[in-house]
Symmetry: C2
Subunit: 100 residues, 2 copies
DNA sequence: CGTGTAAGGAATTCTGACACG
DNA sequence: CGTGTAAGGAATTCTGACACG
């Protein structure tokens, strides 16, 4: 399922090609905790397709002038927001089923 | 869809970790045309998750003593076989629908 | 704050070849 | 045939730092 999307297998060079972001930028966004790549035994970073998607979102926000701190909050709330939305929908469904 | 599974993004070192095959073996199976990795601008090989799956199949066959030439044929017919099977099923479905 | 760059070292990958068999 | 290995070079990645602002 999520295995391919979330498996950390790409070197930073590939991520650079896929996103167009510089190595410096990719490492900096990690430092600001917007992404969390894994490390190989010898310390080279490994990224997932999911990380690449996040980086593309980050690039969009940065172009709009949003600071990394704000982007981090957005990324967190966008995830939580989806969860929240799903829970609310669940409650609404339960509500309508009761009144049906 | 197939984008993550077939996108060539992994270095040979990662493939080695994922499959347990030696670099020599991975390169040799390419030489025998069992897999077709892509290359970066400077010539380093890039593999997909799909390639990794194929390599795992190859490893199984090799343990059984099957030669690379036979494995290549198997890989080709297993793909074509699936296609053929689907076409036959389609015809069967059409047949039964006509007689229904 | 966000990003570029030069610096030096360490690890990776590549190819062609010899070896065994 | 399939795989290991030593060889030398080229390219990658890492970190900490200085720079601009």
């Amino acid at each position: 399922m999520a295995s391919y999307k979330h498996k950390k297998v790409m070197s930073i060079g590939i991520v650079n090609e896929l996103t167009g972001l510089s190595l410096r930028q990719i490492r900096y966004y990690e430092e600001r905790r917007l992404i969390q790549p894994e490390r190989t035994k010898r310390g080279t970073r490994k990224y997932s397709f999911s990380d690449v998607e996040t980086l593309l979102q980050i690039a969009d926000k940065r172009e709009e002038g949003v600071q990394t701190y704000e982007i981090r909050k957005d990324l967190q709330t966008s995830t939580k927001g989806n969860l929240k939305e799903r829970m609310i929908r669940g409650q609404l469904n339960a509500h309508f089923q009761m009144n049906k």
